[in-house]
C-alpha cells in the first residue's frame, strides 16, 4: 500500500476528533432509532457498523469518481498536472489543519461548495429515518457520507491527484477507516474523547499534525514524479484471472 493511503488514514484518524462532536448527534439519532426493548450491545454495534459501512462506501465511491476525474485530467493535460494537483492537495490539507486548530476557517469555503451536492442528496436520508433496522442505518450512512465536510474534501483532493479510480477509492477507504476508531467509541469513552477533542491544546496538536502532512505533500509534490506508474503492477491482480478465464474466439 502506498503513502497517500496512510496520509488519508491519518487525516481520518486525527481529523475525526472533530467528527466526534458533530457526528455524535447522528450516532445519537441512530441509537434512538433502535427498538426500546432490543438495545443490546449487539444491535447497537450492528447499527453503527452498517451506518459506517454505508458512509465509507460513499467515500470510496466519491474517491473513485475523483480518481477518474484526475485520470481524465491527466490524460488531456501535460504531465505537470499531477505535481500541481499534489501541491494544491497539500495546501488544502494545511488549510484543514489550521481550521482544526481553530486558526483559519478558509476550508468552510470548500464546504460551502459541497452544500450544492448535499442539498440534492440529503432529502434521500429522510427515507431512512428512523434508522431502526441495520439496512436503514446502512442507507443513512450512504447518504450522510455526502455531508459537506472539510476533512472529506481534503482526502478527496488526494484521490483526485492519484489520477486513478482504483487508487482514489483506496485512498478514501483509508480515510474512512481512519475515522472509524473515534466514531466507534461509545458510551463513557465517547464522553471522555469529546472532552479531550475540545481541549484547545489537543486541537492545536491535531491541527499541527495535519499541517505537517500537508507540508509533506507539498514538498514531495514534485519529487515523486513517475510514482503513478507503479500502480500498474497492482492492477495485475484482476488480470491474472482474466488470462485464465478469458475465452478467446
Amino acid at each position: 500500500m502506498e503513502l497517500t493511503f496512510y496520509t488519508a488514514l491519518m487525516i481520518g484518524l486525527l481529523g475525526s476528533t472533530h467528527c466526534i462532536g458533530m457526528c455524535g448527534g447522528i450516532v445519537g439519532a441512530l441509537n434512538a432509532g433502535l427498538p426500546r426493548s432490543g438495545q443490546s450491545l449487539l444491535s447497537q454495534v450492528a447499527h453503527h457498523f452498517t451506518y459506517n459501512a454505508g458512509r465509507i462506501l460513499s467515500y470510496v465511491f466519491a474517491g473513485a469518481i475523483a480518481g477518474l476525474v484526475g485520470a481524465l485530467a491527466t490524460k488531456f493535460s501535460l504531465d505537470t498536472a499531477v505535481p500541481f494537483g499534489r501541491l494544491i492537495a497539500g495546501l488544502i490539507m494545511i488549510a484543514l489543519g489550521l481550521y482544526l486548530a481553530g486558526l483559519w476557517h478558509a476550508v468552510t469555503a470548500i464546504e460551502k461548495a459541497g452544500l450544492h451536492i448535499w442539498r440534492r442528496i440529503q432529502p434521500l436520508g429522510q427515507r431512512f429515518l428512523p434508522a431502526n433496522t441495520p439496512a436503514r442505518a446502512f442507507g443513512l450512512g450512504l447518504v450522510w457520507g455526502w455531508l459537506p465536510c472539510g476533512l472529506v474534501y481534503s482526502a478527496l483532493a488526494l484521490s483526485l491527484v492519484s489520477a486513478s479510480p482504483r487508487q482514489g477509492a483506496v485512498i478514501m477507504l483509508g480515510f474512512g477507516l481512519g475515522t472509524l476508531p473515534m466514531l466507534f467509541a461509545m458510551g463513557g469513552v465517547a464522553g471522555q474523547l469529546v472532552k479531550l477533542a475540545r481541549h484547545p491544546a489537543m486541537r492545536r496538536l491535531v491541527g499541527a499534525g495535519i499541517v505537517m502532512f500537508g507540508v509533506y505533500t507539498c514538498v514531495t509534490a514534485f519529487s515523486v514524479h513517475g510514482h503513478n506508474h507503479a500502480h500498474v503492477d497492482h492492477n495485475g491482480l484482476g488480470q491474472d484471472m482474466s488470462e485464465t478465464h478469458t475465452k478467446s474466439n
Partner: protein, 791 residues
C-alpha cells in the same frame, strides 16, 4: 463563540441556523436534519405501544418446506394477514409454527390450508405426516450432477485446453463445427435445464425473500447464477464464445449437493426433538361397541376406553382396566426404570409402554400432563426469539453489503481495464463465497440440538435463551422444602410407651394430613373408629374401648389432659431442627410423643458441595429453622415467605448472576426473578413459565447435567458464530481481490454451511444418561427394554 453542536470554535461570522451558531456547514446540516433533539444528545422516538393481542386459542403446526429465516417471516406474515389470527411465530430449525387465533372466527382445521403457501406444507400437530420429499431432492441432485458432468466434459474437451494455451485454435479446426457450433448450444440447453430444474429451490428461496422484503443467501445465489447464465447466453447469441455456463452449473450443483447433505444432517439434529414432540400428540384407538376408532387427543371424552400397545405413549391419564405392562414414566417422575402396572393402577399420560399392552379408561379430566408439557415445549420451540432476530439482523446487513460489494468490485475491475468477463467472475465469486447461512444456522440449529439433548437427560428446557445467558453462576439460591428435602414427612423418633405409637398409627390412618400419613405408617395392628378432627391441632378417635388423642400441645390443653414434664423435655431436646412433636394420650394423660420431620433427599449434601465449588450457596427457606441444612451451605435466609423470596433473589443479583433452584409452584416468582431458574417436580405450566429449566422428578444431581448441556450448547453456538465470522472475514477479501474463482467460491460456501450443520448436529452431552427416556425407549429395540422391566 463555540459551535452549538460540536463545541469547536466558530468562524466569524459563525454559520447560523435557527438562532444557533455552527463551526461548519456539516454541523449546521446535522442540526437542520435532526432539529433541536440532536443538541440534547438523543432523539426520542414516539414509541407506539403495541396493543396486547386479545386472548384466543392456541394451535401448533408442523410446517415442512421452510429452509431459512425469511421463510419464517413469510409464514408469520401470511398468518397475520388472515382475519381471525392474532399472532403467529415460527421456527425453521424445528419446522414449527405457533398460531394464536380467535376460535369464533376461524377453525383450527382451516389453519393448515391457510399456511400452505409458497410451497410450504403445514399440518396440525398430531396429524399424519405426508411422505417426505427426500426422493425428489435426490432425483434433483442426480440430474444436477450428471448433467453438470456433461457440461463440464464439453468444457474440458473444447474450451479449457485452448484457454490454458495447451492447444492452439488451429488444432481444433478439423472439429470446428462440433467445437464452436454444436458444443456451445448443447451447453446452453443443458445449463438452462440445470438452472431451472435443479436450481428451482434456490429461486424459490430467493422469491420468498423478495416477497417478504428480506435479502437472503438465495438472493445472492440467484443473482450470481442468473448473471453468469445471462451474460453467457447473451454472448452466445452475439456469436462470441466468452461463455461462463460452467460457473452457472457449478454453483447450482455444488449448492444443491451441499443442501442435500445439510438437509439430512438438519433432519437428524431436529428429528429427535420432532419425534419427542409427536410422541405426545398421538392418535388414539378408542374401543367403542367392540370396534376400534381412531381419535385425536382432543376428542377423547372421560371414561372412554383406550387401547395402548407396546412402544406407544399413554395419551391421557387414566386407570388400567385390562392388561399388565412395564411403563416408562421417566419424563414425568424422573424414575429411571420402567415400573410394572396392572388392572386398577393409574397410568400417567405421557409415559411410554415399554412392554405389554393396556386398556385404560380415560380419567375424568381426559387431559394429560404431557399434553400440557407438549404445549409448553412447542411454544418454546416455535419461538427461538434470540436466534431469529440475530439471523435477521445479520442477513439484513450482510446481504445488501455483499451485493453492494460485488457490484463495486466488478465495476472497479471494469474501470481498471479488466475485460468484462473477468470482472464479472470476480463479482460473482464475491457474491457466492459470502455465506450468511452460516450465521443464520449457527444459533437455531445448535439450540434445537441442545434442547433435544436436555430432553434425553430428562430435562426440559423451556426458554431457549438460557443458551445466551451468562455462563457463570456466582450465587446459587436453593429452596429447602421440596428441593433439598422431598416434602414428605417421616417419623424421626418416638418416645414413651410402645402402645403410644400403635394407637397413634391407628388414629392417624383415618386422616389425610401429611404428618398423620407418616405416623400411620408406623404400625397396622390396631384400627380406630369415631374419628373427631380438631383442625390444626390433631385428632381424637376410639381404639378399642380407649379414647385416644393425637396432636399438638394445644389439643391436650383443650382436652385438659396433662403432659408429663419429662416427656415434653426429652421430646424437645431431641427435636432435630424443625421437627414437629405430636403427643399421644389416652385416659386423660399423655403417654408418648412422636417427632416427625421433612425427609431430606439422599444426595442433597453431595449436590450442595459440588455447587459450592463454583458458587456461593444460599439456602432460602420459608421455615423458621434451617433444620440441619445450615452446615452445608454458605448462607441461610430462614423464615422467608414465598412472596418475599423473589425480593431476596433480586437483592442477591446485585452481587452476581443468581441461580435459583426451587419447586415449580411455590417458588415461581423467585425462579422468574433469578438469572437462571431451575424448577423441580411436576412440569406444570406455571413452573415452565417461571423457570428456564424444569427437571421432573426428584433427582437433584440432574442440575449438573443441565449445566453441562447448557455449557456445551453455548460453546457450540460460539464456535459456529466464530467460524462464520472467520470464514467470511477470510473468504470475502480473497474473492474481492480476485484470487477465488466462482467454482471454488461455491465449494467453500457449501463446505462452510455443512461444517456449521455438522457441528450443531454432533451429540451434545456425550454420555448416554442412565434414565430410559421416551426417545431411548422408542428407538431402542424392545428386547433391551425387557431387561429393565420389573416382573
Amino acid at each position: 463563540m463555540d459551535c452549538t453542536l460540536c463545541g469547536l470554535p466558530t468562524p466569524t461570522p459563525p454559520i447560523e441556523a435557527g438562532g444557533h451558531g455552527f463551526c461548519c456547514f456539516g454541523c449546521r446540516e446535522v442540526y437542520r436534519c435532526f432539529g433541536d433533539d440532536v443538541l440534547a444528545g438523543e432523539i426520542v422516538e414516539a414509541a407506539s405501544q403495541p396493543l396486547s393481542p386479545p386472548d384466543g386459542a392456541e394451535a401448533f403446526l408442523r410446517v415442512d418446506g421452510m429452509h431459512c429465516s425469511s421463510c419464517e417471516i413469510l409464514v408469520e406474515r401470511t398468518a397475520k394477514k388472515t382475519d381471525g389470527i392474532h399472532s403467529a411465530s415460527s421456527s425453521f430449525a424445528t419446522s414449527t409454527a405457533r398460531i394464536l387465533y380467535d376460535p369464533d372466527r376461524i377453525d383450527e382445521s382451516q389453519l393448515p390450508e391457510i399456511l400452505s403457501v409458497a410451497g410450504f406444507r403445514a399440518r396440525l400437530r398430531g396429524a399424519a405426516a405426508p411422505e417426505p420429499d427426500e426422493r425428489q431432492s435426490l432425483f434433483r441432485l442426480l440430474v444436477g450432477v450428471s448433467l453438470t458432468a456433461v457440461v463440464m466434459m464439453l468444457y474440458l474437451a473444447f474450451f479449457y485446453p485452448t484457454h490454458l494455451g495447451l492447444v492452439d485454435f488451429e488444432e481444433l479446426e478439423p472439429v470446428r463445427w462440433l467445437a464452436f457450433n454444436a458444443a456451445p448450444k448443447v451447453m446452453f440447453a443443458l445449463t438452462t435445464l440445470i438452472i431451472f430444474y435443479v436450481g428451482a429451490p434456490i429461486f424459490r428461496g430467493a422469491l420468498i425473500g423478495l416477497r417478504v422484503g428480506v435479502l437472503n443467501m438465495d438472493n445472492l445465489l440467484a443473482v450470481a447464477i442468473l448473471a453468469a447464465y445471462g451474460y453467457s447466453a447473451g454472448q452466445l447469441f452475439l456469436g462470441s464464445l466468452d461463455l461462463y455456463f460452467d460457473v452457472a452449473v457449478a454453483i447450482v450443483t455444488v449448492v444443491t449437493v451441499g443442501r442435500f447433505f445439510e438437509q439430512g444432517a438438519r433432519a437428524r439434529a431436529t428429528g429427535e426433538l420432532t419425534g419427542l414432540m409427536e410422541a405426545w400428540t398421538p392418535v388414539l384407538r378408542v374401543r367403542e361397541d367392540g370396534a376400534f376408532l381412531q381419535r385425536s387427543v382432543d376428542e377423547v371424552a372421560p371414561h372412554d376406553r383406550i387401547v395402548i400397545w407396546q412402544g406407544e405413549p399413554v395419551p391421557v391419564d387414566g386407570i388400567i382396566v385390562e392388561g399388565q405392562a412395564a411403563v416408562d414414566e421417566s419424563l414425568l417422575t424422573g424414575e429411571p426404570f420402567p415400573v410394572s402396572r396392572g388392572p386398577g393402577d393409574s397410568v400417567l399420560g405421557g409415559s411410554v409402554i415399554v412392554e405389554g399392552s393396556l386398556e385404560i379408561t380415560a380419567g375424568a379430566a381426559a387431559q394429560s400432563k404431557m399434553d400440557t408439557l407438549a404445549r409448553i415445549l412447542w411454544s418454546a420451540q416455535s419461538s427461538f426469539a434470540g436466534a431469529r432476530s440475530l439471523a435477521d439482523r445479520i442477513a439484513g446487513i450482510f446481504v445488501p453489503a455483499v451485493l453492494g460489494l460485488a457490484v463495486v468490485v466488478a465495476g472497479w475491475s471494469l474501470l481498471d481495464g479488466v475485460p468484462p468477463g473477468a470482472a464479472l467472475l470476480t463479482g460473482l465469486a464475491t457474491l457466492i463465497v459470502s455465506c450468511p447461512c452460516t450465521f443464520g444456522l449457527a444459533i437455531p440449529l445448535t439450540t434445537a440440538a441442545g434442547v433435544s439433548a436436555a430432553l434425553r437427560h430428562g430435562i426440559i428446557v423451556t426458554s431457549a435463551d438460557i443458551f445466551e445467558k451468562a455462563p457463570r453462576i456466582d450465587i446459587a439460591a436453593i429452596d429447602k422444602t421440596g428441593t433439598l428435602s422431598t416434602g414428605n414427612m417421616i417419623v424421626a423418633e418416638t418416645f414413651g410407651v410402645p402402645e403410644a405409637a400403635r394407637y397413634a398409627a391407628a388414629v392417624e390412618r383415618l386422616s389425610a394430613h401429611p404428618i398423620a400419613q407418616a405416623i400411620a405408617r408406623l404400625d397396622q395392628t390396631h384400627s380406630a373408629t369415631d374419628l373427631v378432627i380438631h383442625p390444626g391441632r390433631g385428632a381424637v378417635a376410639m381404639v378399642g374401648d380407649r379414647r385416644v388423642a393425637v396432636g399438638a400441645k394445644s389439643l391436650f390443653a383443650t382436652l385438659g389432659w396433662t403432659i408429663p414434664e419429662q416427656l415434653a423435655a426429652s421430646a424437645s431436646a431431641h427435636m432435630p431442627g424443625e421437627g414437629v412433636i405430636s403427643y399421644v394420650g389416652w385416659s386423660g394423660r399423655v403417654h408418648g410423643a412422636i417427632v416427625t420431620r421433612d425427609e431430606s433427599r439422599p444426595d442433597w449434601k453431595a449436590v450442595v458441595d459440588r455447587l459450592r465449588e463454583q458458587a456461593r450457596v444460599v439456602l432460602l427457606t420459608g421455615a423458621e429453622h434451617p433444620s440441619g441444612y445450615e452446615d452445608g451451605v454458605d448462607e441461610v435466609h430462614a423464615g422467608v415467605p414465598p412472596e418475599a423470596k423473589a425480593a431476596v433473589i433480586r437483592r442477591l443479583r446485585a452481587d452476581g448472576t443468581v441461580l435459583m433452584i426451587g419447586d415449580g409452584s411455590n417458588d415461581a416468582p423467585a425462579l422468574a426473578a433469578a438469572d437462571l431458574g431451575i424448577a423441580f417436580g411436576a412440569p406444570t405450566a406455571l413452573a415452565a413459565d417461571a423457570a428456564d429449566v424444569v427437571i421432573p422428578g426428584g433427582r437433584l444431581e440432574k442440575i449438573f447435567d443441565a449445566f453441562d448441556v447448557i455449557a456445551t450448547t453455548r460453546r457450540r453456538v460460539r464456535q459456529n458464530l466464530g467460524w462464520a465470522l472467520l470464514y467470511n472475514a477470510t473468504a470475502i477479501p480473497l474473492a474481492v481481490s480476485g484470487y477465488l474463482n466462482p467454482l471454488f467460491a461455491a465449494l467453500a460456501m457449501s463446505a462452510s454451511s455443512l461444517l456449521v450443520v455438522w457441528n450443531s448436529s454432533r451429540r451434545i452431552g456425550g454420555t448416554e444418561p442412565a434414565s430410559a427416556s421416551i426417545s431411548a425407549a422408542r428407538t431402542r429395540p424392545i428386547k433391551q427394554g425387557r431387561e429393565f422391566a420389573r416382573p
